[in-house]
Subunit: 114 residues, 2 copies
């Protein structure tokens, strides 16, 4: 009884549930990148980053196109839209309320000061 959309959301949310992968997505906001360049800032093997990129591609969050030796990674925002649509189905809050987010962090972790 689990729908196709369900399974798609599974992999999208699972892909987003890792800080390394979220950081990669943020990096790709800037521009398309080769795998090696994606891996550069991380204290982690290239193979590990390669696997993270496959997870992101399987979720549809990025696409990968090989040109010559270099595999270029490109952000694909449509997949994220599916997640947003699901979350907004709750419809109980303003879609982009940064103040609310700040309050959320402050209330949740009052002991942590930057």
């Amino acid at each position: 009884m689990t729908s196709v959309a369900d399974r798609k959301l599974d992999v999208i949310f699972a892909a987003l549930a890792d800080p390394t992968r979220r950081a990669i997505l943020i990096m790709l906001l800037e521009d398309d990148m080769a795998v090696t360049d994606v891996a550069a800032p991380f204290d982690m093997s290239l193979a590990a980053i390669s696997k993270h990129l496959i997870v992101l591609a399987d979720a549809g969050l990025i696409s990968q196109e090989k040109r010559g030796r270099v595999k270029w990674c490109k952000l694909e925002p449509d997949a994220m839209r599916a997640a947003t649509v699901w979350i907004q189905g709750f419809g109980q809050f303003d879609p982009l309320d940064f103040d609310a987010f700040e309050r959320f962090l402050a209330n949740e972790f009052p002991q942590v000061s930057p």
Copy 2:
């Protein structure tokens, strides 16, 4: 050097990456529910649902309050708001508060920030 916001998003997205847990959240939109009632529609043991509810509570997506024998589960939309804000930070939907977004990115992944 993963930030607090990072780890919070980890558990929120991981909690959302399961169809049973997303279904539970949708059920809780309607009203607060006891654990047994949450479990009723699922073809799964009560213990399994109990564990799912703990995952949701650890993510802050629900709260649980025990009154007598019955443990009541209540939706907590603030945690979901954090996920929404992160996703919409990609700016494909609404105009952004760029100042807040930069602060958010710096907090999200300090070591790759410019």
